[in-house]
């Protein structure tokens, strides 16, 4: 999306590569040339690609930690509330807050919270479901390209220049360099 007010003419320039290595080379070159708004599209996860783009830390582990912590606290205090506050029962003279007995449920709730947070976190952080995205929709409109590797240099990049970007992508044996309409 352009920040210049006028109707954006272009979403970006998309280069198409046969191999992951060509894609990674192109990413490194683009980063060296000062581009910051770039994104790569691959048919399966490739760690080197997101490392090259500069995504060093995913927020997912933090989300999972928070989910697990919340789940554990919730599980423990739910039992505490039931056994001590809401419905205290004297069972063989044992204390109401017999916390060791709460541990198995607390453990299971920790895992449940963490797992739900992991799955929900991926969907929310990735903005899924995403019925329309310029790059994905553009790719889907291209026949027989499910197994290629793509690099998009986006027009919102402050350094964006259509011809320079096209030239950069062409250097790394790009099969094809295309304009992506907004």
């Amino acid at each position: 999306m352009s920040h210049h007010g006028a109707k954006p003419a272009l979403h970006g320039v998309m280069g198409e590569f046969y191999t992951p290595q060509e894609l990674i080379d192109a990413i490194e070159e683009a980063r060296a040339a000062g581009y910051t708004k770039i994104d790569a599209f691959t048919p399966y996860p490739i760690e080197e690609v997101w490392e090259a783009i500069g995504h060093h830390k995913s927020p997912v582990p933090l989300v999972v930690l928070l989910g697990g912590t919340f789940g554990g606290l919730f599980g423990f205090f739910l039992q505490y509330w039931v056994a001590v506050i809401e419905y205290p029962l004297n069972i063989g003279g044992r204390p109401f807050n017999s916390w060791p007995a709460f541990i198995p449920v607390t453990f299971e709730c920790t895992i449940l919270g963490a797992v739900l947070a992991a799955v929900a976190g991926v969907f929310i952080l990735n903005g899924l479901p995403e019925p329309y995205h310029r790059s994905s929709t553009w790719r889907a409109s291209q026949p027989r390209r499910a197994n290629r590797y793509f690099l998009c240099i986006e027009a919102r990049d402050p350094k964006f220049d259509r011809d320079a970007a096209r030239e950069l992508l062409s250097k790394f044996h790009a099969i094809e360099v295309s304009d992506v309409e907004p």
Partner: protein, 246 residues
């Protein structure tokens, strides 16, 4: 559909964390259950539960075998065979040894009850073997034990044999879970709560689902993404690179 690098990064983090959470969960089932017996507030800690803490191999290895057997049964063999990839028989001998340890666990449980002469243990064993869940117990033990020898002999390419054995093991494991759960619940503290569990319609539908390898042979539900990554790890060029390079 290809995804943006950031999407894949989040996906991979979650994938790794889910695997990390699932592994201790599976391995700790027995510890958690025995812990539950030991610290439960309700007075259900019978002598049997205490001694059950000591008989760790049977349930622990049984669980492992059950989950391992699920792999060829549920997802592994047909798709991998489809892709000429490794087969589950490669772990056959190790699996067979575990199966023998489980058999030993079953036998020692019966032996210890009579050796100690504990009336509760003897009653429990008799109830399991000849009570209302007796037929399940008498099926589950042999189903688990008898699969050891044919599994040890199954070569890495003998997918069909591995699938058949894994189905037998899974049915045995299913029956064992049934016995464990039902025998501990069908006689509650109050005789008025006593009763028996019977399979429902959907429960009966559930067992034939073990026929799904037949379906999987024709419809690979194993994510092709994972197959692609397996092939990459196997030093084969990924299909995406081989397809239509000029």
């Amino acid at each position: 559909m290809a995804r943006s690098a950031a999407h894949w990064h989040n996906y991979e983090s979650a994938y790794l964390l889910l695997a990390g959470l699932a592994t201790p969960l599976v391995l700790s089932v027995h510890s958690v259950v025995s812990f539950d017996f030991a610290v439960g507030v309700v007075t259900r800690l019978a002598h049997h539960d205490l001694s059950a803490l000591l008989r760790w191999p049977a349930p622990c290895l049984g669980l492992r075998d059950g989950s391992h057997a699920l792999d060829p049964d549920a997802q592994g063999v047909p798709p991998r065979r489809l892709h000429h990839h490794s087969a589950p028989g490669e772990h056959g001998e190790g699996d067979a040894r575990h199966r023998l340890i489980v058999t030993y666990g079953y036998l020692i449980e019966i032996f210890m009850a009579f050796y100690t002469g504990n009336e509760h243990d003897i009653a429990m064993i008799e109830n399991r073997l000849f009570g209302r869940t007796g037929s399940s117990t008498r099926c589950s033990g042999p189903a688990t034990s008898s699969s050891a020898a044919p599994l040890a002999q199954a070569g890495p390419k003998e997918c069909r044999r591995a699938v058949v054995i894994s189905i037998i093991v899974n049915v045995g494991m299913w029956l064992e879970r049934f016995v464990i759960i039902v025998t501990s619940l069908h006689r509650d503290f109050l005789p008025s709560s006593w009763g028996m569990y019977h399979g429902t319609f959907w429960g009966r539908v559930d067992l034939p689902r073990h026929a799904r390898p037949v379906l999987l042979a024709h419809v690979p539900l194993h994510p092709l993404l994972a197959v692609d990554l397996d092939l990459r790890d196997a030093d084969d060029p990924p299909r995406s690179q081989m397809d239509d390079k000029p």
